[in-house]
Amino acid sequence: MAEGKVDPVHQFTIEPLFGTDHWSIAGYNVAFTNSALWMAITAVVLIVFVAGGAKRAVVPGRWQMAVEGFTGFVDNLLQSNIGAAGRKYLPYIFSLFMFILFANLLGLLPLALVGLHPFTATSHFTVTGVLAVMSFAIVLAVGFAKHGLHFFSLFVPHGTPLPMIPIIFPIELISFMVRPFSLGLRLFVAMMAGHVLLEVLSGFVISGTNAGALTFGIAALPSFLLMIGICALELLVAGIQAYVFALLTCVYLNDAENLH
């Protein structure tokens, strides 16, 4: 790598903040990393946000309205996708949606201006994969608890002609089994791609500015203007990806709750 070139994937490095390699449980290092720190910050911000708004005032203030807006939004999502039986999943889907949303948004904060390095916890497949596996495990648990072995009828859509069943069944089974993978991958790649793009553009701005007035005009300035637009797009993507994750979890839960 050339001298002074911006490394776009360095921002995803996981490094232990305190604790050393000796902190291990069953061979796995459990040192407190920057990823863990930012997930803890996300959880604290989320708890403060919700606790500050849970006031039960008859005439809600701004903060309470914000929290009620989010809970109402998630409740509406569950009602329209699962129906009345979806109400019991509200705590899980709300936590999932808000955690992903806050983790995405906190990773975009321009804290580097004051020397801190924001870290997007959701830009790692280990984090999003665990969230996806959690959703998938709940789908499996609900499906088997509610329908027993009849849950396998999910893989044979209602009204399939008999000769088609040997073909349909493997296709449906594969499309079902790939769900946790695609769910986690979508969030992780969308966040990672956005941050890499911003880092590459900021590399253009820095090296273009350093190389003189001409490259500043033709490379650095347009890149900087593009960066502003991409930042706005990233805020949108942060919201959309959190919404899509919650929405797809609802759709999968609907399969488990109501079969086809």
Binding site: L77, R186, I240
Partner: protein
Amino acid sequence: MDAQSAKLLGAGLAAIGAGLASLGVGNVFAKFLEGALRNPGAADGQQGRLFIGFAAAELLGLLSFVVAMILIFVA
């Protein structure tokens, strides 16, 4: 051609997949807007399906990004 340049070429070719997925995502929103303008009353109720279609189309583009990342950093 040595292996390293072949990997980088493959990663560049994977970017075609991202471009094609952008056509798919654009198509999802274009068709939704077309339908929504014909029947605005039904549009709000279909936003969930809009985002499911968006997520499915986007995932395939993101997979090409993963292929590029694997070629550059893993393979």
